[in-house]
């Protein structure tokens, strides 16, 4: 199936979706109009259109360039620089990029038989980061949603066991947020 066929089929069956302005290269990317549509859309995709393989859930923090305080040591050292030279700069803001206080969630669902996949994206506000959980439909969402919760701090409503998974218990905050600041713990030097 070509991308156009998939796109027309999706937009015919799912009015909750629209074509995303910024797409993931080489793949069909759709935008969800609101968070509450997600469970319905996912169910139709799974049961009627055969997208039964949950590939990814991921999130991007669009706040702006990452803060250096989030790293324990010098984040980007250049050992080849001569003595006294200015170190490499941290990534800065690029003019023209629309930085805004939102999280952009991304789900990838695949149809194994027809070898197609669809990318769903959704913007949620940063101060109330919550999205519906898909654990009821896909067991694969269990640990992946926990990972996004742990590293990005997005709560998935309806997840049966939304607890930390990768970072240690004493880690304060969610490391992949762009404004994360590292709090010194017992394993830090000096």
């Amino acid at each position: 199936m070509t991308q156009e066929e998939l796109l027309s089929r999706l937009s015919a069956q799912l009015p909750q979706l629209e074509k995303s302005a910024v797409g993931v290269k080489d793949y069909v990317t759709m935008r969800l109009k609101s968070a509450s549509d997600l469970p319905v859309v996912a169910e139709i995709l799974k049961n009627e259109l055969g997208f039964d393989y949950f590939e990814i859930v991921s999130a991007t923090d669009w706040l702006g360039p990452v803060k250096p305080e989030g790293y324990i040591r010098n984040p980007n050292p250049n050992v080849f620089l001569p003595e006294g030279a200015t170190p490499q700069n941290m990534p800065g803001a690029t003019p023209g990029v629309h930085y805004r206080p939102v999280f952009e969630l991304l789900w990838v669902l695949a149809n194994i038989k027809e070898k197609i996949r669809v990318f769903l994206r959704l913007e949620i506000p940063r101060d109330n980061a919550e999205a519906p959980s898909l654990t009821g439909l896909f067991k694969a969402a269990d640990w992946q949603e926990r990972e996004v919760f742990d590293l990005m701090g997005i709560r998935f409503a309806g997840h049966p066991n939304l607890i930390k998974i990768l970072t240690p218990d004493f880690t304060v905050g969610h490391p992949l947020r762009k404004d994360y600041v590292h709090v010194k713990d017992k394993y830090d030097e000096d």
Partner: protein, 374 residues
Amino acid sequence: MTRTSPLAGVKTDTLFVNLGPQHPSTHGVLRVGLTIDGEVITKAVPDIGYLHRGTSKLAEVRGYHHCVVLTDRWDYVSAMPNNLVFCLAAEKLMGLKIPPRAKALRVLMCELNRIASHLLFFGTYGIDLGAFTPFLYAFREREMVLDLFEMCCGARLTYNYIRLGGVMVDVGDNWIAKTKEFIEYFKPRLDEYDTLLTYNPIFMVRTREVGKIAAEVAVNWGLSGPNLRGSGVNYDVRKADPYCGYEQYDFEVPLGKSGSCWDRYFCRVSEMRQSVRLCEQVLATLPPGEFMAMGVAKVPKPAAGEAYAHVEGARGDLGIYLVSDGQASPYRMHVRAPSFINLAILQEMLVGNKVSDVIAILGSIDIVLGEVDR
């Protein structure tokens, strides 16, 4: 006189057992909290994160060329596909065209690495189940593959060989001769493995009826790689979403039938045969020409955009989602780590099994903790 059971009136209780974090059969630092009732497991809680190094966060302040080095450390027993998947995603962002020779070399290295990785599985799975001999044979051959890699790029495990735009160095005639020699040596060894372990009656009894995963369960848990194909689901990224010219090579996707530990094991052993076939085809048709694309920037700053690339690594569908905002570092890097997603099914699979089967099931999933925790 009526006899009463000696256990009448005895109160039984469940027992909590810690498996790991330092247990030789967990292949790394994995802890599984097991609640057992007699010999039967009633609850299993995998505890991961001991090896979490935050590579997604690190990537946000490193250049694209530096990130390739980070990828080596996920699945450290098959690092070539890790290198490859990051390069594919970054090359999509940059719009680079890869020369045919580089593509063929990438396929060759990934398949050799798959052989090395499956040999490690073959050896250690035997040890897990009490068969020590296959390990010695497997490591003899694995050492040869690692020697080939060392000869080619200087490293045994963390290669950093596949670079943005191509590969690090071209291979010489000497290397190609050695690889052909290895493949000829390796082919009869595969039959030897079958006699050693695959059709060993004790091994089959311990694995054939254990840890069965139905096809729809495997799909629902998002399993990939031999774990999914062991259940009979035909999904291989090399066929479903071809990259690096896999569509031009002739190979089969081995499938299991019942989804038991033995089926998963057998898929891996059969995959080694297919990898050998692929290596032979690549060596026979290795195109001449450049091994690196022209005009790869020293500090690449791809235009703002997003890309997703995935490859069939030794453990499954390894994916990278990269977001660029035009800076010299990725704005966001998300890794779809197959080991991490494959491991999640453990909490459901172990329940109802005997304690002695835990190791058989855990070993058959074939995880690498470096990739689970990233």
